[in-house]
């Protein structure tokens, strides 16, 4: 059972305008995300990448436009249904956002005990598996404050995987990781895509990672407050006719 990007459409961003009050962050963002693809949101610092992610996971309401998952608008449904849709998402926040009063196992167990009928033994087994994926076997009983920043990041990913989500969101997954861990994370991302058919939406400006894992991407531009390109990042690097996009993807070397 191997999944590559399929033709089935998983999510659509439709004419999205993001704003804080009267301050517009980004206008008319639109994109189509297919099932089991790695979709990258890229752009310079402060261009609204994380803001777009927060719109996609239902934390912020769009000023205009809509976001649809499998044809269903996340903002067009009532609170209960939105909560149900969000349950299919896993999110790795930029600062890992582990609950500091709980051990790593308890962090992963919380969503499992809330949303499944599994016994504590089964939940423990699942938590152990998720921690093993991210290379944290043996640290089950640790509190987030007792492990390093990079380990917290990986534990955050293990928690995002808790409910075997359909769609995984990553906010700058490789920031704060050493190069080896960052590449391992890329491998894990691809493995999840291939083995479980997970759709991945990744905010990143780590070029190596973008070219390794990206199937599709959008490029957000701070100056014009619009998206400037969409497509496979490798193709954009080689063939884009937009200087700003090529400049970004070649670290300004070309």
């Amino acid at each position: 059972m191997t999944h590559g990007p399929s033709t089935e459409i998983k999510a659509v961003i439709r004419d999205l305008t993001m704003a804080f009050g009267s301050y517009v962050v980004m206008r008319d963002v639109h994109a189509t995300i297919r099932k089991s693809e790695v979709f990258i949101i890229m752009g310079g610092s402060g261009c609204g990448k994380s803001t777009l992610l927060n719109h996609m996971i239902g934390l912020l309401r769009p000023a205009k436009g809509d976001i649809l998952y499998e044809g269903k608008s996340i903002w067009g449904v009532d609170e209960t249904e939105r909560a149900l849709m969000l349950r299919g998402f896993g999110v790795l926040f930029q600062g890992s956002a582990l609950w500091s009063s709980m051990t790593l196992t308890e962090n992963i167990a919380l969503p499992l005990s809330e949303y499944t009928d599994l016994s504590p033994t089964e939940i423990n087994g699942l938590a152990r598996l998720k921690l093993a994926y991210v290379g944290l076997s043996g640290f089950e009983g640790y509190y987030p404050s007792e492990i390093s920043g990079g380990m917290q990041k990986r534990a955050g990913l293990a928690r995002a995987l808790a409910l075997d989500p359909d769609i995984l969101f990553f906010d700058e997954p490789s920031s704060g990781l050493d190069p080896v861990s960052a590449r391992n994370l890329d491998r894990l991302i691809l493995e999840l895509r291939d083995s479980l058919g997970t759709t991945l939406i990744v905010v990143s400006h780590d070029l190596e990672s973008i070219f390794t894992i990206g199937d599709n991407s959008i490029f957000l531009d701070t100056q014009s407050k619009r998206m400037r390109a969409q497509g496979n990042p490798r193709e954009l690097r080689d063939h884009s006719d937009d200087d700003a996009v090529r400049n970004f993807l070649t670290s300004g070397l070309a």
Partner: protein, 378 residues
């Protein structure tokens, strides 16, 4: 070979030296993770198998399957038999490999030995002692920092002091007024019930004035400020510790006591006496309202008696207490904030400790002062 029975997620068969585990139907977390106890029994058999082999008759699967496989792999390793993963679905095999890429960290296992009660008592005494020591050290640093301030060498920003004064003084006027007005009313009521019986209703004014100015004004205000401002100090400095802002100050060679603690303690030492005077006036007003409306006393007479009954020493004592309590509350808030651990729950603990220590020290200090003033005859 047994025919697959759909109700069972897996079947275990012995064929020669192999234990063949047939995985069938759907494995989804919604339906639970099958138990490996049966496999464990089979492995512990007298004629234990040498190999664990799988047969794939799976429908849909997710982490439930992988959890089961990982448990099986652990069992196989425990019994020293071979774990043959060749027939597993590709994805599952790759994920299993991934889960095993980093070997479990053996040293990471936590040793939580249960210690006897003698050990526990000893440990708590030791930690109490080192806590006291740390507090004395902190107090010393604060006093040194005050000394630097006197000589104009403290690294503090006056704009910061102004801002903290604004937040801890004027912004607290509302709540200080409300509470002290009510306390004044309560004192008047309680006093009136007794004094009316002797036809001495007018002495309510003496009672309220003396109690407020000597004790209640300063104490009530200090308790409010401890819950309001002391807690805010602890939470703010605690969060700064979590965000490494305190570390950042240290690397620039800026004393965290000068820069963070001094302005806060100073602000409270300056503001608390003023708030106390304000509280005194409001509480006497509250007492007057009860006396005039409920007891029918003459307002002018009431005010006159109040003023007559307050001695200068009593008034100054109250104001001095205000300043002292301010120092105690500010020091407790800053101390627990700076000492805070580096996560959210530690900040919560720091705030709790700050308020508890603040209020306790207020009451203890007030008790000591009561004895002292009694001896000195103030």
């Amino acid at each position: 070979m047994t025919e697959p029975v759909q109700s069972e997620p897996f079947l275990a068969d012995r064929v020669d030296d192999d234990l063949i585990i047939t995985l069938q139907s759907d494995w989804l977390i919604g339906t639970g993770v099958p138990d490996t106890a049966r496999i464990k029994r089979d492995l512990k058999d007298s004629s234990a198998p040498r190999r664990m082999v799988f047969k794939d008759a799976l429908g849909k699967w997710d982490s439930s399957l992988l959890t089961f496989l990982m448990n099986c792999q652990d069992l196989a390793a425990e019994q020293g038999i071979e774990f043959e993963d060749a027939n597993l679905p590709d994805g599952a095999r790759r994920l299993l490999t991934l889960a095993r890429t980093v070997p479990p960290n053996k040293d990471a296992g936590k040793t939580e030995g249960t210690s006897g009660w003698v050990t526990r008592i000893g440990e708590s005494v030791l930690s109490g002692w080192s806590g006291t020591w740390r507090f004395v050290e902190f107090l010393g640093e604060t006093v040194l920092s005050l000394g630097r301030l006197m000589r104009g060498r403290a690294q503090l920003q006056w704009s910061q002091v102004g801002l903290i004064i604004q937040q801890s003084g004027p912004s607290a006027l509302g709540i200080v007024a409300l509470i002290n007005f009510l306390v004044g009313m309560i004192l008047a009521f309680v006093g009136a019930v007794q004094l009316i019986q002797f036809g001495a209703g007018i002495f309510v004014a003496d009672l309220v004035a003396i109690a407020t100015v000597r004790e209640m004004g300063a104490i009530m205000t200090a308790i409010i400020i401890s819950g309001r401002t002391g807690a805010a100090f602890a939470a703010e400095l605690g969060t700064m510790t979590v965000n490494q802002e305190v570390d950042a100050l240290k690397t620039f060679g800026i004393s965290s006591v000068d820069f963070l603690v001094l302005p806060r303690v100073l602000a409270l030492i300056l503001m608390m006496p003023l708030l106390t005077v304000f509280a005194d006036v409001i509480a006497i007003g509250g007492g007057m309202m009860v006396s005039v409306l409920a007891l029918g006393l003459n307002p002018t007479e009431y005010l006159q008696r109040s003023i007559d009954s307050i001695s200068l020493n009593g008034f100054l004592l109250g104001v001095f207490k205000g300043g002292l309590f301010g120092a105690l509350v500010g020091t407790a808030g800053c101390y627990y904030g700076i000492q805070s651990g580096r996560d959210a729950s530690a900040v919560g603990q720091a705030t709790t400790s700050a308020v508890v220590a603040g209020i306790t020290s207020i009451i203890v200090a007030d008790g000591l002062l009561a004895v002292l003033t009694n001896i000195l005859g103030i």
